[in-house]
């Protein structure tokens, strides 16, 4: 494409409702797992590894 280039897209199908096994989060961030973006999926451990140093 000439005018639009996709930097990232989720590999996971957005309409999959999920298993609910993920860690609970805390929207006010008092707790160990805060915003949804930081969640780790119990089914696929590779998800949300952005906190690991090897990312860069």
């Amino acid at each position: 494409m000439k005018h639009i280039s996709t930097i990232a897209k989720t590999e996971r199908k957005s309409d999959i409702m999920g298993c609910g096994e993920c860690q609970s989060s805390c929207q006010s961030a008092c707790k160990t797992s805060c915003t949804v973006g930081n969640q780790t999926c119990k089914q696929e451990e590779r998800i949300n590894n952005t906190g690991k140093k090897e990312t860069l």
Binding site: K2, S5, T6, T10, G18, G20, G37
Partner: protein
Amino acid sequence: MVYHPYSNSLHSVDYKAYLVIKNKYEELSPQETADFSALDEGDVKEIESEIAELEKEGLIGIDRTFPYKKSQVVKALCLHVCHDCNLKCSYCFAKEGTYNTARDYMTEEVAKAAIDFLIAKSGSRKNLEIDFFGGEPLMNMSVVRFAVEYGKAAAKEKGKELSFTMTTNALLLNDENIDFLNREMDNVVISIDGREEVHNRVRKTRNGLNAYSHILDAARKFRAVRGDKRYYIRGTFTSYNLDFASDVLALADAGFDQISVEPVVLPADNPMSITSDKVGQVLKEYDKLAEAYIDRRQNGKWFNFFHFMIDLEEGPCIMKRLSGCSAGCGYLAISPIGDIYPCHQFVGEKSYRIGSVLDGSFNPAVQEEFSEITVNNKARCENCFAKYYCSGGCVAASHYYEKDLLTPYAAGCDMMRKRLECSLGIYAVEKKYREKR
């Protein structure tokens, strides 16, 4: 850049494409309208065909919504092992750890009943969590140790996996506790506010002493033994340190690589409150932090800032995005005397008391009310690009500051959007950087 919340996709676009996309899905400003009118017809057609291709893949376009109600299966408990604290932080929502109740300490009997309650309410869910909270949980370590031992055995018997976490101020973090927490906790949050003067101004001991040096030493010791296991340094910023980027960087300079510094949530009449007139300054500070963050991470000073974490390729499933924290449903808090509340911030709010793990009482009406609190049901979230990352924000903040569980805390929304904007920008920059290497 163009971000499509539903598919979690991020696109780099030229200005012409930006105009065509914005004209198609949103409203153009007067200047943009003029620029759009001046576009070459061939360019517009070309861009429209690119958009059509992305639409076909579901990577751009109008968001779909899902009818969704939160599950009432319980998967996580916050155990308030004591309503007492050895610090007297000026901004503490828990009122020196008491939550406006007595300085109670949880007994083994209550801890056992809470774990039994969690397992009984967890249905077919396998992975369960217990978070040790306070007050200061290290002040009741015998019950923490008991709960871990009992919880592991009870979970094993029922074929469940139980993980433990703790939020602590580190004042009692001695060698023995460090060894135990490192061994048993899946994640540990240590509260430090950043620069020494910032921390000492608001986080004094009960008898008014400065404890920064002691806490920093203990936290560093813990960090050293923690290795690659999960931990965070968790700070709070107030109107006293709106230049909080310096606190984040000070924590990184102190040797911590997992950092979360959050805005205080206080009523507007509190001098430390982040009132709407201060939000602009906070947003600028996030931009400043983002620049320093990119620079440091590319130049040998890597650290992770909690709110700049984003995973666009493998982000959470739509259920998680819609449900958020699950307060009042999958996540509940247990007070030291065994009372059940929707979350740790509701503890002590009598109208939200759900029941008791000791006498087995449980009012399903509260859980029912909370099960409807999803991002779909929040009018303010409807057109917000951040809605699948904040999931409508903190329910307790909505309750305390907007007096309505379905109305997101406005100042929090502005900050959330800025953090997401920074995260997306950082993501794009770092991706380009990785590709070049």
